[in-house]
């Protein structure tokens, strides 16, 4: 808890609740998140360079299937219990099937602070996991109608800032390799946690601004925003065990599963499923699930991974 980046997040939330004029200019938010995305990509790419790509195929397939499964689980709950419209249920389900890069960054920092090993190619799985939930979400809302312009959807996904910067970082890290990256490490690697602190400060302010909407949309969203990541985390731990990952790696898959998107998916849904109300999904993913994961979830899922490895580990 004395982890300073978490304190920055809490500080941001408090400042947001006080309606303080603390927000960074949006251009700085952009800069800071660009740096984080590239760094995460580079870190993953360095690892990819160390092993044959094909050896990762099982992980890729498993994570892809997980990304299909989670929104399929979430959708009926949202539609039947939450009484959301078809489009809204599909859109929220897509957010929870996909991932949050911010949560992933905090998880990297958590693993670093506690010296926990994890398979660094996680960054690749992060990219993979962004995608299936978007497709599932659209299909859930519209059926497999020919109306959906899949070409446009694909363009939107792959040219969106989030995925493209991750992919770019992955490729650069992969091609250049660890040694060559030494010269750009001071910016991308040494500053990583400081930049993450600024990012979390801003995210805290934005998260706080979502709490107002929460009152409006009520209790169900609050419960869903906490229960869903717990369920997904358990699925993620199962996947991690199946893939025979390390404890840290298992926890990482759980964290990926438990996190909910607030960049790539909102952008894609806005254009492919505009009738879904973006306030609903952002309130849940940013206002509830992100703080929950950052403050409690990450270390909880890690503990779960430890226990799971004791009982079911190889």
């Amino acid at each position: 808890m004395a982890e300073p980046i978490i304190l920055f997040f809490i500080f941001g939330v408090l400042a947001g609740l006080m309606k303080a004029e603390l927000r960074l200019p949006s251009q700085i938010y952009d800069f800071v998140s660009t740096l984080l995305l590239i760094t995460i990509g580079l870190k993953g790419g360095i690892e990819l360079a160390k092993q044959p790509f094909l050896s990762l195929l099982p992980q890729i397939v498993a994570v892809f299937l997980m990304g299909v499964l989670i929104p399929l689980l979430a959708f009926p709950v949202l539609k039947l219990l939450g009484k959301f419209s078809r489009a809204d249920a599909a859109s929220i389900a897509a957010h929870y099937g996909s991932v949050s890069v911010g949560t992933f960054a905090v998880a990297i920092a958590f693993m670093g602070t506690n010296n926990i090993y994890f398979e660094e190619y996680m960054a690749l799985l992060l990219v993979i996991l962004e995608i299936p939930a978007i497709i599932v979400g659209i299909v859930l809302a519209k059926g497999l109608s020919k109306q959906t312009q899949w070409g446009e959807v694909a363009h939107e996904i792959f040219t969106g800032k989030g995925i493209l910067l991750l992919l770019g970082g992955l490729f650069i890290g992969w091609i250049a390799g660890e040694e060559a990256l030494g010269s750009i490490k001071p910016l991308f690697f040494d500053l990583f946690k400081g930049i993450l602190a600024l990012f979390l400060l801003e995210m805290g302010i934005i998260a706080a601004s979502k709490l107002g909407a929460l009152r409006q949309y009520g209790f169900f969203l609050l419960i869903f925003g906490i229960t869903m990541p717990l369920v997904s985390a358990v699925i993620g731990i199962g996947v991690g065990l199946l893939l025979e990952l390390s404890i840290g790696g298992t926890a990482m898959i759980a964290i990926l599963a438990a996190s909910a998107s607030y960049i790539a998916v909102p952008a894609a849904m806005r254009l492919s499923l505009p009738e879904a109300n973006p306030t609903l999904s952002l309130t849940a993913s940013l206002g509830i699930t992100f703080p929950f994961n950052v403050l409690i979830g990450i270390s909880l899922y890690y503990e779960l991974a430890v226990i799971a490895h004791q009982y079911f580990g190889a």
Binding site: S26, D30, E202, S209, A213, R270, L271, P274, P278, L282
Partner: protein, 100 residues
């Protein structure tokens, strides 16, 4: 409308529509447009401009009255239901009316 007068339409909407609307305007055959970053409040709540997802843009297009009406109707039809968007228009005096 006088010979030197044209119609200026202003569109205030979500920043995520910038690419799509630029293409829409190109296809529609208007001769130009001007975009500025904005934030604001409306029926769809506060759009604070703090990050991309909650930012607005403000697009201005000068064109003939006819095109203006068509454009406004098209935007209403395609976007009003699902996006934070307002459009308004008024006459302006320009020096090279053939340009717009």
């Amino acid at each position: 409308m006088q010979a030197n007068n044209k119609t200026l339409i202003t569109i205030v909407t979500e920043a995520s529509l910038e690419n799509k609307l630029s293409k829409e305007l190109d296809d529609f055959g208007v001769h130009g447009y001007t975009i500025t970053d904005a934030r604001g409040k409306g029926a769809r709540g506060l759009r604070s401009g703090d990050w991309d997802v909650e930012s607005n843009i403000r697009i201005e297009v000068i064109c003939s009255e006819l095109i203006a009406r068509e454009l406004m109707n098209l935007l209403q039809e395609r976007y009003y239901d699902n996006f934070a968007m307002i459009t308004y228009s008024h006459e302006v005096f320009v020096l090279r009316p053939e340009k717009f």
